[in-house]
């Protein structure tokens, strides 16, 4: 792996990991919200 390639790879990995984690967080938020809505509609 050459220098610039490595640099690109490292930055992309950082972004992927951060965005991936954010994505799972948002997914879990949606699930919780849905559950909450469900509870309010039909306790």
């Amino acid at each position: 792996m050459t220098g610039p390639e490595a640099l690109k790879a490292a930055y992309i990995v950082t972004w992927v990991v951060l965005l991936g984690y954010l994505g799972t967080l948002l997914g879990r938020f949606r699930k919780v919200r849905e559950e909450m809505k469900d509870l309010k509609r039909n306790p």
Binding site: G3, A10, V13, L18, Y21, L22, L25, E35, M36, P43
Partner: protein, 229 residues
Amino acid sequence: MKQLFIAFIVLTLGLLAYSTYQALYVAPTEQTMGDVQRIFYYHVPSAWTAGVCFLVNFLASVVYLWKRNTASDALAAASAEVGMTFCTIVLITGPIWARPVWGIWWTWDARLTTTLVLWLIYVSYLMLRRFSAGGQTQVLAAALAIFGFVDVPIVYMSIRWFRTQHPSPVMGGGENSGLDPVMLQAFFWNLLSFTCVGIVLMVLRYRLQRLEENVEAKHAAVALQGGSR
């Protein structure tokens, strides 16, 4: 409060864009390593943020054992997960840097190994949180967090010694070799922006935990009224 947080997110995104710009275009190219050295601007701030998260995790765990309040447990859960995320970044970007510079992916040097052990400890922490049921999770997790935190300096010390005894392969450069002031400036911008990203993620994760607790409380209220049978 919510608006303040949104403003903070916008600020963080701006900071991140600026600090990345600083890292890629403003900071001068390092002479011996070349462009690879720029990984440092992401790698080290990630490590710093992970460290801050684990410190928060430790403090929150101590407070939980003392006060037994759900808020500090939620903070502990949030900081452990976010810390894990940044620690993962550190462990991936480290070898990507090492390969072109040292010619190897991995070396069992003190800092790398300690980071790996730290990562393992918090994986076990998150697994424990998943594998224990109901009201016991919080106490057990808090206890483990304290063990983990106490362990880290011992790990570092032992591996330092291990390495001085068995000299490791070529360890050229390193980030302490007199940084150029422009480099230093880029570094501090990244340090700031990554810390902010860490805070944003932690706040989000914390709120998620609280929301989940809210749902549980709603279920509990329903169960108390007798509808759940």
